[in-house]
Amino acid sequence: MARAKKLERKPLVAVVVTVLFFAWLYVPIFAVALFSFNDKKSLSAFSGFSTRWYVDFFHNEALLESLRASLLIALVSAVGSLVLGTMLAFGLERVRSRRGRVVGAITLLPLVTPEIVTGVAALLVFTGAGLKLGLDTVILAEITFSIAYVTVIVRGRLASFPLEVEEAARDLGCTPWQSLRLVTLPALVPALIASGLLVFALVFDDFVLAFFTTGVDPQPLPVRIYSSIRFGVSPAINAVGTLMLLVSALLIVAALMLPRLFKSRSSSLDLITGGERR
């Protein structure tokens, strides 16, 4: 595909607007990271470098428990939605029918439904069914919500995967199951990694769904942070926020790097962003 012609001179106004936008976006985040290293409790005056809030955090059993809970929720949700979402993608892509198109549209609904509605609805279902709220209900709600992301990404990759390649595998002696395992799934690996990391990142710091569906103990990290903010912002929260930022950043880097390691032609993030086509 031909690349769009680039302007020879960058218009000054566009440069200024872009710089201002990124400043607006990242300066507050940078401030949070900076004040997590403040040696005083102040959130306005930086008086000296210290890692005391990190030490605090790693000695705060309640916060650590929440971190572990959130990592567990994110991991199980990522794996669960990956399995279900991929199966759904295959169904939608390979079985063409009118009903399939309707199901396809319904699949996308969670992407546009206000999360708070999903949260309240999940809460109603869980309490109505007499389920005890806890980590399992959070995971259930998060998987329900995340399947759509996996399905959209995997389905996009599947749609561009020629059926002839599967036929070639069958022609060369593969049973349908072997051709799925040896040919189709390897081709989907970038999409699976991308959607898995995306779901992990989304679920890990998701507040709204977790807030509605969690029990009292242990609370997922975002819920824990929210409740502690009500009693005044401690710089320990900044430390937690910075750590969460780090986790998310690492996931993004991983999403960028992993496909390179697999020598795949396209980065998995290209699948989300549309990427750069050759």
Binding site: V165, E167, A168, A169, D171, L172, P186, V189, R265
Partner: protein, 359 residues
Amino acid sequence: MTPPTTGHAVSLRGLTKVFGGQTVVDALDLDVDSGEFFSLLGPSGCGKTTTLRMIAGFSDPTAGQVLVGGEDVTSTPPHRRDVNTVFQSYALFEHLDVRRNVGFGLRRKGIDKGEIDQRVGEMLELVELGDRVRDRPAQLSGGQRQRVALARALINRPKVLLLDEPLAALDLKLRHAMQAELKSIQREVGITFLFVTHDQDEALSMSDRVAIMNGGVIEQCGTPEDVYENPTSVFAAGFIGTSNLMPGVYASGTVAVTSDLRIPVPGHTTSVDGDQVSVAIRPEKIWMSDFTPAMVQTPGTIVSTSYHGATTQYLVSVGTGITLTVLEQNLPRMRADDRWNAGDRVEIGWLPEHAVVLR
């Protein structure tokens, strides 16, 4: 390599495919001999690819049978048929390197690694890709990808190799080179090739036999020379090469095209007087000079002249509504001054046996 066995590599018996009420392949009967290079030639939508897919097992016949090496495989799934396919899109496994692509089929058969490596090496030598063993398909050119697809299928030594327009995606020069190479590889390995194409040049130059398909049926089947020189239907005559087709009425050994132009058709016995038929004469069989006494001659007027490098094509009007295409070699003695121009009165002639009656 396995020597060609006698008998039929592929036999089709009343093979039929109906898609949504439309008959795509209509009660096809066909026998392809072992070791033969056989082409299915026809326009797109004639059912040739569907036929190939039914032989490979990707498409279930509505009726009829597919026999491979004398064995009925009609309800055998593709992975258990002794048949391999070279796909039009090549359908290479992008996540595997050339070596693993080519060795894929042997690994599925559980052949031990040493033998696989050896056979993959031999096969890659055969298709001249010995130096690209570790490359991914994405790193190869179109022609190289084509060779990988061929090697990946051939290495399994199938009873028949199915090729679905494998050269269509290549540019003209490469395509000509690959035609010759494909033919020589086929001779070397002795495997039956069933080649699907819409390109008549390809079919004529490579095949031992050609079947011309149209509307789900085989219009004519024979050697390239046979189908070219003696087309048996209007479609076959028009699809292979160009032909001057003239409708007329048969009467005692001639076909009356106009009241002035009666074309003798000696040796034609299957028509009776008064039958509506067509006469076909190939453009290169019509002469404009150096006539021999046996030729049928008729006067005409040049309508247009077009220069094609090796040949010159004339449109010659020989009567009301009858314009013939004449193709003349640009022989060394012919200079631009020697060519005729529009409006020139000329004499044209052909040998009577080159006028073919079609019904």
